[in-house]
């Protein structure tokens, strides 16, 4: 096609107006090809199949009116310039259009061909400029991230060398060291570790900024993480003479989170709290739930430090922020710790905030989502905005050959779970977190978005893999049953989250039924053996 030809997609339902615009366009100096449709839906369909130079858009269409019209066009094709052609001279609407990214707003009845031609040419140029600016910004960000990732890699190499030789000396491998020398070496090692932490934070913050930070959520007991974090920071607190207490709630529901990342956040916040609390002060780490917010678990870290002023409070989670009040606290890092915490919590779809009054200590609080089957299932059972066509529930039973099992049965179960997780399609199937045991038989459930035939292939693979493992600590037999999941209320009229919920409900019902049957048969076999 001739490069000079301007391809215009005209979305206009009034035949008279359409003819007028077409006439004005062909009267112009440069060659133009006009494709005219009279409904928004037809316009969007045309945009899907080919990209015009410009869209001329009426705001009074049979299937869409007003601001919604240009919003939908731009949402569909953000890179195509849009010029609104309106029957009315509405300054407010025109401003709204331009603010949302429309290139121009023209009124139909005072349209000359010269005027229209120029408007189109400028619209195309402006859009192209915007586009190249966006690309340049993206490239710049990418370059910066690559640079930081390269720098952090290069810094690690000499740091590793320093670390190795200092520890060789400290461990006495290079010969005996005097107590004074050992003390000096420990100071070097502390600085090496600080430097190492900074490099790690730098890379982590870069990852967060470029959307490459990942979490691997699982079904976790929050209380255990609280205890773990406190145990890790206890020596630091004791060294400084700061009390460290924990508060847990035994009725707390399981959460759905990446345990390593949550631990990282807790450790970071605890470390800060201890750092800013004077000797004889106290730090409290607490996990709790709030009745008004049943979908979340709350973790708070409270200290008796000097508190945070309102200005610092507003900025404290920002990248590279350093509290000017805390400069006396020798070397305090890059100011990335809280930013990384915020990003980790954000990836968990939780919230993080601080409440504090100067002189009164501070409380950092964050929330984590409570484990919900529907939420877990959503990414594997949906595809392109709809529900996948069919599901099956696989029940995998592991029974030890000897009863009671020999060796470490708990370890065997964990090993089997990991094997099963490696056998499924990560984006289509979900191995549910283990749900306790019935006697010595361990049951795993897998929700698979595949038909019966494919899930048959998967079960064969799982069985093969489990049987092939030579070093399973306890030998066991594997039974796999497959049941198709029936959907009661799935249909186009029901919103997607509700459809997912109904899959989750159905799966839960089936699992509960299985477990009841197992318990009944366990009781029965016990009675029989008596």
């Amino acid at each position: 096609m001739d490069q000079m030809t301007t391809n215009v997609l005209l979305i206009e339902d009034n035949a008279g107006d359409a003819d007028l615009v077409r006439l004005r366009l062909v009267e112009g100096q440069s060659p133009v090809k006009v494709n005219c449709v009279n409904r928004l839906s037809d316009g969007l369909a045309s945009l899907t199949s080919e990209t015009p130079s410009v869209v001329l858009l009426d705001l009074n269409l049979p299937d869409c009116r007003g601001a919604e019209t240009f919003r939908r066009v731009m949402e569909h094709s953000p890179n195509v310039p849009v010029v609104v052609l309106s029957g009315q001279d509405d300054e407010a609407l025109a401003m709204r259009a331009v603010h949302s990214g429309v290139q121009d707003y023209l009124v139909k009845n005072n349209l000359s061909s010269k005027h229209l031609e120029r408007a189109i040419r400028y619209a195309v140029e402006r859009q192209a400029l915007l586009r190249s600016l966006e690309i340049a910004q993206k490239q710049q960000l990418e370059f910066k991230n690559q640079f930081l990732s390269h720098v952090s890699h290069e810094l690690r190499t000499p740091l590793t060398c320093i670390h190795q030789y200092v520890t060789l000396l400290l461990d006495g491998i290079s010969g005996p060291v005097t107590p004074d020398q050992a003390d000096h070496l420990k100071t070097v090692l502390k600085s090496v570790n600080q430097l190492h932490a900074m490099i790690r934070d730098l890379l982590e913050a870069t990852r967060a900024e470029s959307g490459k930070m990942r979490i691997e959520p699982r079904c976790v007991a929050l209380n255990e993480l609280v205890q773990q974090a406190a145990a890790m920071l206890r020596p630091t607190a004791a060294e400084k003479g700061v009390g460290l207490e924990i508060g847990i709630d035994q009725t707390l529901p399981l959460i759905y989170a990446d345990p390593d990342r949550v631990l990282e956040v807790m450790i970071n916040l605890l470390d800060n709290a201890i750092k800013f609390t004077p000797a004889d002060g106290a730090v409290m780490l607490q996990a709790s739930k709030v009745d008004a917010d049943p979908g979340a678990a709350y973790v708070s870290i409270t200290d008796t430090g000097r508190g945070i002023g309102p200005e610092a409070k507003a900025l404290i989670f920002e990248r590279l922020y350093q509290d000017p009040e805390s400069v006396d606290n020798n070397r305090s890092g890059l100011g990335l710790g809280l930013f990384i915490c915020r990003e980790i919590i954000r990836l968990h779809e939780g919230r993080i905030w601080v409440s504090s009054e100067p002189g009164q200590g501070s409380t950092f609080t964050f929330t984590l989502p409570v484990y919900s089957l529907a939420k877990l299932l959503a990414p594997v059972v949906t595809y392109q905005g709809g529900l996948r066509p069919s599901f099956v529930l696989l029940r995998l039973e592991l029974t030890p050959i000897r009863n009671p099992p020999r060796g470490n049965w708990k370890e065997t179960r964990q090993q089997c779970l990991e094997i099963v997780q490696r056998c499924v399609y990560l984006d289509k199937d979900l191995v549910l977190p283990p749900m306790g045991t019935s006697g010595t038989t361990e049951t795993f459930f897998i929700v698979a978005s595949t038909d019966l035939q494919r899930s048959g292939i998967m079960t064969t693979r799982i069985r093969e893999q489990l049987e092939r493992v030579p070093d399973l600590k306890t030998k066991c037999t594997v039974t796999i049953t497959t049941v198709p999941v029936e959907l009661a209320s799935a249909g186009a009229t029901v919103a997607l989250p509700e459809q997912v919920q109904s899959v989750a409900d159905c799966v839960t019902k089936m699992i509960m039924a299985t477990r009841e049957r197992q318990q009944v048969s366990a009781v029965k076999s016990k009675r029989d053996s008596n």
């Binding site: 990732s149 890699h153 290069e154 690690r156 190499t157 740091l159 590793t160 060398c161 670390h163 190795q164 030789y165 520890t167 060789l168 461990d171 491998i173 290079s174 090496v192 190492h196 890379l203 990852r207 490459k212 990942r214």
Partner: protein, 133 residues
Amino acid sequence: MRRPKILVVDDDPDLVRALRLRLRANNFEVATATDGYSAIAAAQKERPALIILDLGLPVGDGFVVLDRLQNSDALAGVPVIVLSARDPQANEERALKAGAAAFFQKPADNDELMNVIRVSLGPANAQPAPWPS
């Protein structure tokens, strides 16, 4: 008992020297190589019980070495511990898939590294060996 031999592969000679000192102090014999090509040659000649492997190497990087080792009948069973400055998010899974037994990012914790070496070598070495006085 014969001391197990460990092959250390890294292009930084200073780091190789430090690792050699530490491993010897932990009762291991040590062989070394500083590029991918000589790593393979050393593995064939020395028959180490375990290999510590850097990823960024001249003349065939760590992944090439892993691939060669996996495709050699004589060497496929030798556990390889990757010790690299590279980002684990991009390299750990790839290294484990290519046959590595473990991935450590530099600088690694010495105690953890020694533990994984002993576990990889099998039950006979699971207990920390006493240091020479």
